[in-house]
């Protein structure tokens, strides 16, 4: 496998992982919205309610930064990283 193919395989792996986490917090948990809302979540809000106003949103922010860093590591590993500033 060429360097480029290996790079793409790793990038695809990262994409799958990112989309899996995205799926859980944007779709998965809301399959059980009613049940989850019985539980008390962070700061004392009902759990589903908390996810819709803060939890999922905050997780998406962190997820994107995590993804960007991981992808950058992959690019560096194969020497495909761009030079220069952000």
């Amino acid at each position: 496998m060429s360097k480029q193919e290996q790079h793409w395989e790793k990038s695809k792996g990262l994409l799958m992982m990112t989309l899996a986490i995205w799926f859980v917090f944007s779709i998965g948990i809301f399959l059980f919205g009613a049940e989850m809302n019985e539980v008390t979540g962070p700061f004392g809000y009902p759990l589903t309610y908390w996810f819709t106003c803060q939890g999922s949103l905050g997780i998406f922010v962190i997820l994107i930064f995590w993804f960007a860093n991981r992808q950058e590591k992959i690019d560096e590993e194969f020497g495909f990283s761009e030079k220069g500033e952000d």
Partner: protein, 604 residues
């Protein structure tokens, strides 16, 4: 100060700007103490901020194609994040979102999840790859990746349908705010709003829009957060509302159980002015089926990833890795406002319905409520209404009606904040609507001037001529949008959601598969765009005309049907026609590698 290494001076420039704006708020509040009228303060807020945007727009004027189309590709990540957040958060987010949460609760919160979750798709599936491509517009990517004028043209069609649906709502919002703040009739105010919008984008194109959007973000986020924190503190609900409103949320649930949701008869509801609603849904309980929630969230997420005015913001970053990080910053800045909207809805609702609070009106006598100053003001503005349906003389929960906008616009006054806050909120709403309208009008005008005029009609046109065409189109599209907005056909929020559905129907899969599936070819992409858009639009028309729909897909989520058709037709047609050429496949390989030259040249 602005010349030379402007980019290096950005933190300083916007730091001074933010300080200046805060000083302006303080001066206005002193003026209010000294007896300046509320109307004058409102005019000052809107006029001052719009004048600043116009100056920024003028200073950003340019005669270069890459500055006009992609701001010279030198916008730093954090600032691009702010600009995207302003681009993204429309008049609807600012004025209507808290109201939607207030009335519909959980079922509406799907929009919050959808409008943020979509950015994960933008960051991981599209933005870095389209940045590597080096295109000026979204149809530029489609046209080059798939080849042929027809695919490029189809992309322009989808872009125009989606963005135009969206932009009329934004011009409508600027008109509404301008007409209230400046006290002029709506049909003129719409054009005042339009001129303000064009002042930002006419001379500088994307460069002008970028730097005004950063300025607009600063105004809108201050205008949203300051009242939320102030109200929360004034009510004694907690100094940091986001972490401290659990008691208030459970108190609302308690009151809901105590009052019950009484259903009004159709005859009684006839009395209620159009556009106003009562509280009929639980605040924090789950009040929608999983599919209703998930389908709406999914439609908004896929729509987010397909809306060209957002995508083109990531064409302005200096590098591919900067584009990725910039998506994270965008969502962070959006998060600041979106996580505050439910808190504002909670504070607003509790202050109105809790009889143990001094501001609570439920349980008071009808005549007492009708004598309150703020009730009279907002009743006159057609945003509040009470009526004694059961004739017992007391206001019940089901006898109180409010417009969605009132949650943001009226809550500061109800909580007893000084008028200067209402002026600030008007300036914030104006900033939110203007920034989105600018991004949208520019997206349409750029697509038509670059992709239709330059790439299809006259590929030999000189830069100066191209930019004249781009500017003329900007004005024409703006006026067309304003003219339709003046007709007031569809509510602000409805048309915004439709725009997402149109965009995802036609563009989501052609964009994503363009990067992630090498076998996707021109014929497939054309079929995907055309059939996706037609079937989505057809479904909308069918449901609007009394069609029953299927699989629980409503007129708000028709994009799910449209994009499914788009995916199937694109895959089938691609597979039965020949594979893309070796050159195209090599191009896709190059797009997947962040380093190296972009596919399209710096000037093209």
């Amino acid at each position: 100060m602005i010349k030379g290494n402007f980019i290096d001076n950005l933190p300083k420039v916007y730091g001074i700007y933010t300080g200046g704006f805060l000083a302006f708020i303080i001066i206005m509040s002193i003026a209010e103490q000294m007896g300046v009228t509320a109307k004058t303060i409102g005019i000052c807020f809107v006029a001052f901020t719009v004048a600043i945007y116009a100056i920024i727009g003028y200073l950003s004027r340019t005669a270069q194609a890459d500055a006009y189309y992609v701001a010279g590709r030198q916008v730093p990540t954090v600032f691009n994040g702010m600009a995207t957040a302003a681009d993204w958060m429309s008049g609807a987010s600012f004025v209507a979102m808290a109201g939607g949460i207030y009335f519909k609760g959980y079922g509406y919160m799907a929009l919050l999840v959808g409008w943020t979750g979509g950015y994960v798709l933008v960051a991981s599936l599209l933005a870095p790859y389209l940045r590597k491509f080096g295109c000026y517009t979204v149809p530029d990517f489609i046209g080059t990746r798939y080849g042929g004028n027809l695919s490029r043209f189809m992309a322009v069609v989808v872009l125009t349908v989606a963005s135009f649906t969206y932009v009329t709502a934004q011009i409508n919002a600027t008109g509404t705010i301008a007409s209230v703040a400046l006290d002029i009739p709506f049909q003129y105010a719409v054009y005042v709003g339009l001129v303000s919008i064009l002042l930002c984008s006419m001379l500088g194109g994307m460069r002008g829009v970028t730097w005004t959007q950063v300025a607009q973000y600063i105004v809108l986020i201050i205008a949203y957060l300051l009242p939320v924190f102030w109200i929360s503190n004034k009510m004694g609900a907690g100094f940091f509302p986001h972490f401290m409103l659990a008691d208030e949320v459970s108190r609302i649930a308690e009151l809901e159980a105590q009052f019950g949701f009484v259903k009004n008869s159709a005859e009684n509801l006839k009395e209620v002015p159009k556009g106003l609603a009562g509280i009929t849904k639980a605040h924090s309980a789950v009040n929608a089926t999983p599919w209703a929630f998930i389908s709406l969230a999914l439609a908004m997420m896929m729509g987010t990833a397909s809306l060209p005015h957002v995508m083109m913001r990531y064409f302005t970053t200096p590098s591919v890795k900067a584009a990725r990080k910039s998506v994270g910053w965008s969502l962070f800045f959006i998060f600041l406002l979106y996580s505050s909207a439910p808190m504002l809805a909670t504070l607003s609702k509790l202050s109105l319905i809790d009889p143990s609070l001094p501001t609570g009106i439920i349980g008071k006598s009808i005549s007492e409520v009708q004598a309150i100053d703020w009730y009279q003001n907002w009743n006159q503005a057609n945003l509040m209404f009470v009526s004694d349906f059961n004739g017992n003389g007391t206001l019940e929960l089901n006898e109180f009606f409010m417009g969605g906008k009132a949650v943001v616009l009226a809550t500061p006054e109800i909580a007893g904040l000084p008028y200067v806050i209402s002026g600030l909120v008007a300036a914030g709403g104006m900033a939110a609507a203007m920034s989105t309208a600018d991004g949208l009008i520019l997206a349409i005008a750029n697509a038509i001037s670059h992709d239709v005029y330059y790439k299809i009609i006259d590929p030999k046109a000189e830069t100066a001529k191209r930019l004249v065409v781009a500017r003329v189109l900007l004005v024409v599209i703006g006026f067309a949008g304003a003219t339709i907005a003046a007709l007031e056909i569809q509510g602000i929020l409805g048309s915004v959601i439709w725009a997402f559905d149109f965009a995802m129907s036609g563009l989501f899969f052609p964009l994503v598969l363009g990067v992630w599936w090498k076998r996707a070819n021109k014929e497939g992409a054309i079929a995907g765009m055309a059939l996706g858009l037609i079937s989505g639009a057809g479904y909308l028309v069918w449901v609007r005309n009394g069609g029953s729909g299927f699989l629980g897909i409503t007129q708000l989520t028709f994009g799910i049907f449209g994009s499914a058709v788009s995916l199937v037709s694109m895959v089938v047609v691609s597979l039965i026609t020949s594979a893309p050429s070796a050159a195209t496949q090599k191009m896709v390989d190059e797009v997947r590698v962040p380093s190296g030259k972009s596919i399209l040249g710096k000037q093209h």
